[in-house]
């Protein structure tokens, strides 16, 4: 581990210990330093901003309530991401069984509507190197990712999209690094079949 990361982890561990002692300002600092990744992960797993907002809020509240259970304060980040992942996956399952005409669907429509940056993208294809995908391709990738098994989707999103090191992904998924690599490979392999017409 490089020296800067070591220092960051140690000051974060200090914040966690203070938060465990009841210092809410310290917990506020933890929220601020992890919120981007938490919201982003929830969004990638859930596909819309309204649900991501709900889930990441809940994740932080649960983390605060259960902070005493965290034995190693240096693992706060991985622990929090595991809470976000589990809540997101549970939310997806409950959403899948919800009635089609619920008011939540109205919210989801709203979230689908608001992708201004994506809408303006025009003719880029799968082989362009830079920038976000055109809308049609973006939706195709979203649908394909939706159909992956949970472990594969999580491993791929944490590693390839969020850019976390394999060791950290293994921590979050509570599995070996080797299994992370295998899940990433399986996910890519399945996507290759699902997205065949775009390759």
């Amino acid at each position: 581990m490089d020296a800067r990361l070591e220092v960051t982890k140690s000051s974060e561990a200090d914040l966690v210990r203070r938060a465990q002692g009841g210092d809410s300002a310290a917990f506020g600092s933890l929220v601020r330093s992890h919120q981007r990744r938490a919201v982003s992960l929830a969004y990638r797993l859930l596909g819309n901003a309204a649900d991501a907002a709900d889930v990441s809020q809940d994740a932080f509240v649960r983390a605060y309530r259960n902070l005493a259970q965290l034995d190693d304060p240096r693992r706060f980040g991985a622990w929090l991401m595991r809470v976000v992942s589990n809540l997101s996956l549970n939310y997806r399952r409950s959403r899948a069984t919800r009635a089609a005409t619920s008011l939540d669907d109205a919210l989801e429509v709203g979230a689908e509507v608001r992708r201004p940056a994506t809408r303006q993208r025009l003719s880029r294809g799968a082989n362009d190197d830079g920038g976000p995908l055109p809308e049609e391709l973006h939706d195709a990738v979203s649908r394909a990712l939706e159909r992956l098994p949970d472990k594969q989707r999580l491993a791929l999103i944490l590693f390839s999209v969020e850019g976390l090191p394999q060791k950290e992904v293994a921590d979050i998924l509570e599995c070996s690094v080797e299994l992370v690599k295998w899940n990433v490979f399986q996910a890519r392999n399945t996507l290759k079949e699902m997205l065949a017409e775009h390759l």
Partner: protein, 222 residues
Amino acid sequence: MSPDAYNPDELAFLLSRGLDGDLSPEEQRRLNEALWQSDSLRSEASKLETVDRLVRRWGQEPVEVDWKHHAELTSACAGSADDERLDKVDDLLRRWRDQSVGAEEIDLATVVLGRVRTEYRGANPYRLVLRLGVPLAAAAAIALVVTATTWFTPAREPIYRVTIGPSSWSAALAERGVESRVVVSFAQSDEAATTRQAPPAIGFATIGVEPLGSAGEESSPL
């Protein structure tokens, strides 16, 4: 192939790891050799590379959440879904779409800590009743039984002296939202201890408390 069938020597797995720069020199050499010999493996490699690029670009879409409007939407949808409310939701959605902000720009800490504080405030009166009321009631029952026992045997030394009061930790623990308890202390008289007098069975048996030697302490957890 079954997702469970882990095979570290599978060439496609090496291709995937190769994309992440994760191969040992020996594995890299083996893969290069195989790629040189097989058209289909080269095609496979190209497809996997494209998939990886697609996923990374898919992840470049900015995450935009407007927490203020999210809260307004939630409360607007919480009531009945009449036409007026749906119009309001529609309007809010339009405003939300136009004014979204990046995930890193929000003050989520305030939202989260606000929720936690609200939960604790809401829970406190009930918790206080449980925390103090139940142990006090239990302690009063013990006191009554012990007093009654000693009352009817006035010529002898009291068997137990009972004191009731909050634990010395109560205040500190209560500030941190931790369950606290009231402590009931028993001091058995020397005479009772030496003569092995039987304790008054009814009161102690009811709540499961036993005398602890010549002087002991038992508490009633919530």
